[in-house]
């Protein structure tokens, strides 16, 4: 029996490698200094979906919601082996918190349809919320298995998964369809295949084709799109026109949480006492800590 998977991926600022000031003088976040990367746990999720396909057959589709530039990671998904990629991008979806994001994702998944397993990383490194997975599962009315560490087996319409818990682990059996969020220990993402990089480096979204057409009067967008579809290089692009969504549940309008204030982390004034790295000075420090009843 084969299984069709959908993988939810996100392009994130590389918060671990920040150089320079995160905040601009006007108090907004300076995203320009943050290189955009494929969220690490989402890449693990894709690897796991590809492993399921390799073993049981079926398809792997990837979805991301984000600005047009997020197509970068969709091409990476194609390089790794994804069968199809979808970019959800529309100004009306911008500024979404996890609730509004999961709403659009769930609507898109339902529109695509025909899925058995949905995978995603446990959390994205820019917000670390771990909320979008469970919220998407709730909206789809399907169960969820979070913190997945290993797929033990898939048998007809049930999947057995080892998941991490607080101070231990558990083995669960979930009925398919199910949404699974994975931790980094679950798999090591495969490297890009050179052949696939050659094949898909020119894959483009609708927005990217529109841009190409704008700069060249000889190119007509519909023709261009048809050409890319024929060559299997078209990254399906989903906007509000393609979904039957309530706009008041999308983007900033559909987000109950609002950012009231953002502050740069300011370090406290350094008022510490400097101790020389010598036996005498350290001896005095030990004495002082004894007087303070910290030692002894």
């Amino acid at each position: 029996m084969s299984y069709n998977s959908i993988v939810l991926v996100k392009q994130v600022p590389d918060t671990a490698n920040i150089s320079g000031e995160v905040m601009k003088p006007d108090g907004t976040v300076n995203r320009a200094i943050l290189p955009a990367i494929f969220n690490p746990e989402d890449k693990v999720a894709l690897e796991l979906a590809l492993q399921v396909r390799d073993q049981y057959g079926g398809t792997v589709k990837v979805i991301t919601m984000g600005p047009p530039k997020a197509s970068d990671i969709l091409r990476e998904c194609l390089y790794m082996g994804a069968d199809e990629a979808y970019l959800i991008s529309d100004r009306k979806f911008a500024g979404a918190d996890t609730l509004a994001t999961s709403y659009v994702l769930a609507e898109t998944i339902q529109t695509i349809g025909n899925f058995d397993l949905i995978f995603g990383g446990r959390q994205a490194i820019d917000g670390d919320t771990a909320q979008v997975g469970p919220q998407t599962a709730e909206k789809l009315g399907i169960p969820q298995v979070t913190y997945a560490e290993e797929i033990k087996k898939i048998n007809k319409n049930a999947i057995t998964i080892k998941r991490k818990t607080d101070g231990g682990s558990e083995l669960v059996e979930a009925k398919i369809p199910v949404l699974i969020t994975v931790i980094k220990e679950a798999a090591t993402p495969r490297p890009f295949k050179a052949k696939r990089v050659m094949a898909y480096k020119n894959a483009r979204t609708l927005m990217e084709l529109e841009k190409m057409a704008e700069g060249n009067s000889l190119l007509y967008i519909d023709q261009l799109k048809d050409e890319y579809i024929t060559k299997n290089l078209f990254i399906k692009t989903i906007t509000t026109d393609d979904l039957d969504v309530e706009l008041e549940r999308c983007g900033i309008a559909g987000s109950p949480t609002k950012v009231h204030k953002v502050e740069s982390v300011v370090l406290g004034a350094s008022a510490h006492e400097t101790i020389e790295p010598s036996k005498e000075a350290l001896g005095k420090l030990v004495e002082k800590l004894m007087e303070d009843h910290i030692f002894g």
Binding site: D128, P134, E263, L267
Partner: protein, 338 residues
């Protein structure tokens, strides 16, 4: 008392024992409820949990909402989220708090999605204040303060237009403060109703190891960072901890490098500690680490980089190679103890 001012805490229990984070949240929730002039209530779901429910009164809950059934013995997403979601939908508490544990982070988003509530993850501070947002005044909002962008900024999140505001908080972030005298609270039981979705996910096996490491209770902690250089060098951290009768800890970088096990990680994604003494060796002091230790009574920092941010939060700073300073420190300590 208006229901709209209620503060609820989801009480996480394992085998009939409440998680510490739940009591920490009740302690914080009590203060929030006082400011809102509302009631603090505990929601307890499980099997044979009357002791857990009664314990909540020690932390100021005036009522425990209890749902008991054998099928609720262990946490399962579908059942717990359905029960809690329905309760919240019906009673509309103003605030609902969860521990940011694996259970809390599995449950809270599902409940928030069902009730269409705002949810903020991993808050490090919660306050009540009147806020003007888009020229409209919102009295008594919950200010949900959390680090973002890998800890480089701190954001204050509000949920202005929703009746229910939800937040998760990591263990150890809020202080646990039992009352001198427990509240004479009441236990309200709600019936459990089965549902067709209950068994979509079944637990086949459970492995639980009681956390043998208890960093939170340790009066002295010796922590090493990536600057220790190797797992072998990290032995020096253990030696110093042994001599001082303290516990060993590490920064995230040290854990990622395999110098020390994850259970001993201090910081935003590890444990938050408040020991009498914290000795940071070869730890640069990224905000994520400082968030987990800056409330220690006394902090000693040993680092060969005089500009390391750890020196901004320490009380005693030693600029030097930890590999040389630690043996000297051990010697000095043994000498003075004689």
């Amino acid at each position: 008392m208006s229901k709209q001012h209620e503060v609820w805490v989801f009480i996480e229990q394992r085998d009939g024992k409440a998680a510490e984070v739940s009591f920490e949240l009740l302690s914080k929730g009590r203060k929030l409820a006082e400011q809102l002039k509302g009631a603090l209530k505990a929601v307890v779901i499980g099997e044979k949990i009357s002791d857990v429910a009664a314990e909540c009164f020690k932390f100021g809950a005036i009522e425990a909402l209890v749902i008991e059934d054998t099928s609720l013995k262990h946490y399962r997403t579908m059942l717990y989220s359905r029960i809690l979601g329905n309760l919240i939908q019906e009673h509309q508490p103003r605030i609902v708090l969860f521990g940011a544990t694996v259970i809390g982070r599995d449950l809270a988003p599902r409940v928030a999605s069902f009730t269409k509530s705002g949810l903020t993850a991993d808050c490090t501070e919660l306050k009540i204040d009147t806020i003007t947002y888009l020229r409209k005044e919102y009295p008594d909002l919950l200010l949900q303060i959390r680090p973002a962008f890998g800890g480089n900024i701190v954001a204050t999140i509000i949920t202005p237009d929703n009746p229910v505001q939800m937040a998760t908080v990591r263990e150890g972030v809020m202080e646990m403060s039992p009352l001198a005298k427990p509240v004479n609270g009441k236990i309200t039981k709600f019936p459990f109703q089965k549902d067709a979705t209950d068994d979509l996910v079944k637990i086949i096996e459970r492995h639980h190891e009681e956390n043998k490491v208890n960093l939170k209770a340790a009066p002295i902690i010796v922590a090493g960072g990536y600057g220790m250089g190797s797992k072998e060098n990290f032995a020096l951290i253990r030696e110093l901890a042994d001599v001082l009768g303290g516990e060993v800890a590490g920064s995230r970088a040290a854990v990622d490098a395999g110098f020390v096990e994850h259970a001993r990680q201090v910081g935003q994604t590890g444990v938050t500690v408040r020991p009498k003494l914290y000795i940071a060796c070869g730890i640069s002091g990224a905000i994520q680490h400082r968030a987990g230790m800056q409330d220690a009574n006394k902090i000693i920092a040993i680092n060969n980089d005089p500009d390391a941010p750890i020196f901004d939060v320490c009380h005693y700073g030693i600029v030097g190679d930890a590999m040389q300073v630690i043996p000297m420190f051990i010697e000095a300590y043994k000498h003075k103890l004689k």
